[in-house]
Amino acid sequence: MTGPLTLTTPSDREIVLRRTFAAPRHLVFSAFTRPDLLRRWYGAQGWRLVECEVDLRVGGGYRFGSRGPGGAGMTQRGVYRVVDPPATLAYTERFDDQSYPGETLITHAFTEAAGGGTTVTTTVRYPSARARDIALRYPMRRGVAESYQRLDTLLAGPPEAGPPSRRDGFQRTAEEGDEPQ
């Protein structure tokens, strides 16, 4: 019942992720909004959610603190814009040491899927195309211990924990003075 995770880019400011889960909507919605549940799945690629505060109401805030490899830390926070269980959840997102201006708006739409499952459609909307550019820039140029680690969790995971297979080609393309013709 769970399907593949699909990713599309409907505009130069948006990324859309879609995935189906084998669980009813209210349960999936809870997993996205309850700190005790969020702590159990939200991390990936060596990062763990260690602090999680949620004030689940429109205008209420949240704060997620994560711990990564080598003790690296990062914090993201924002304000809930839409809280409509079990159908819609929208919130702003900003990292404490964020490199780009403005806030990203994350919208999750929870729809019923065949067989009692739930499809989650997540739209990540950057405040501007420029902000998205910058978000793209850092994971390509970071060093292991740089202060951009918080982006790693969003974008790719840290170098020592991230999947290595595509990294080489990616960096060759992206690094200054090493652009292929």
């Binding site: 995770l5 130069d12 309850r34 799945w41 994971p139 990616f170």
Partner: protein, 139 residues
């Protein structure tokens, strides 16, 4: 190749957002073509196609031949590969996260009998809410 990488990526994503431009790229993936050849399958004018080609060229996704008459277009793979690679890494991050979520949801539904739909019955975590079926969390 002097465009800064992030600007290039921005231009790449913008270029890819348009269905006609994606179709042009798909056509060029099979080999180089002239503007006339590229315009043929579309119900839009050659100047409109030329505009799309300029966007693709600025994004570094295509290059034009030197021949002033034909100026054949060809696909440039590197910027496309960079964009696709970034998105793939982003996708894989979420994929891992969502696999964790699959496991959690499975565990929650396989919980103690009679509490199948109550997320509060998850083992090893103290419930923060009273186990009330269907109730959405709020604080």
């Amino acid at each position: 190749m002097t465009v800064d990488a992030p600007d290039r990526l921005d231009a790449t994503f913008a270029a890819l957002a348009d269905p006609t431009r994606r179709a042009i790229l798909a056509r060029l993936a099979t080999g180089e073509a002239t503007v006339t050849e590229l315009a043929a399958p579309f119900a839009i004018s050659q100047p409109a196609i030329s505009k799309h080609l300029k966007v693709l060229e600025r994004a570094g996704l295509i290059s034009r031949g030197r021949d002033a008459q034909r100026r054949p277009c060809r696909l440039e793979a590197a910027p496309l590969a960079a964009a696709v690679s970034w998105l793939e890494r982003y996708r894989r991050y979420w994929e891992e996260r969502y696999r964790n979520l699959d496991a959690l949801l499975h565990e929650l539904q396989a919980g103690p009998a009679g509490e199948r739909e109550s997320p509060e019955q998850a083992p090893e975590q103290a419930p923060e809410q009273p186990p009330e079926r269907g109730r959405e969390p709020a604080r």
